[in-house]
Symmetry: C2
Subunit: 119 residues, 2 copies
Amino acid sequence: MEEIKIDSCQCRIIHEELVAEARKNALATSEVEELAYLFKAFADGSRMKILLALIQNEMCVCDLAALLSISESAVSHQLRLLRTMRLVTNRREGAVLYYRLNDDHVNELIRVALEHIRE
Amino acid sequence: MEEIKIDSCQCRIIHEELVAEARKNALATSEVEELAYLFKAFADGSRMKILLALIQNEMCVCDLAALLSISESAVSHQLRLLRTMRLVTNRREGAVLYYRLNDDHVNELIRVALEHIRE
DNA sequence: TTAGTATATGAGCAGTTGCTCAAATGATAA
DNA sequence: TTATCATTTGAGCAACTGCTCATATACTAA
């Protein structure tokens, strides 16, 4: 998908220059995929509830499970995904892991999204 | 899922007060679902490429298909989804439909997301 | 050590998603 | 009207996702 092929494309192109310019300004494919992957983290009800909860307070796995009414295993799977994309981190206190947001981007993204759906 | 049931929950709760407070501050379930649904629009490589292209210029379906190297049908399906969530609109010029972003939220969301993955 | 608590992980399955293909619709031109 | 172009739409299928269940790991306390 990294190869640019204007002429071999089967599709009709009405505005060749527009398409050429769009290609020129396009982000790297890897970055586009990273973007889409990041947004996937927010694209699920359970993960969204987790993130919304962690905006308020750090919480442990079993509390999140109680809050969302799903299993601790399910929460743990989702937290792993959120950890992978550096949206959350945790700190250990004995056997308990407290999860919190890693930076303010989660907050910003949700704020803008809320603006969109509320207007 | 709209019913709040603290006591009937099977899960252990370590910090009851934290969970109770999180419930109290929680967004309405419908709004949480709307949020997740909105983010789904950004959570796919093809739709992300479409949105990134439309940040630069309005474009018609067949140009987008050429740009993404996928079928016009596939583009049309994705545009319908983006229209549904009011992220894009179109204007007709003869037989051609030109799509553009509906407001600046797309731009903002992508800007913050890029900030996150680039740091 | 052993038992119990808190969390993580892998396999597997049901539900969802993004594509292709075929057919329909809407607009233009002859 | 008919032919063609630009786009939309529905059905169907392969790939992906989020859950459950069983098991494993990490820590604490006795």
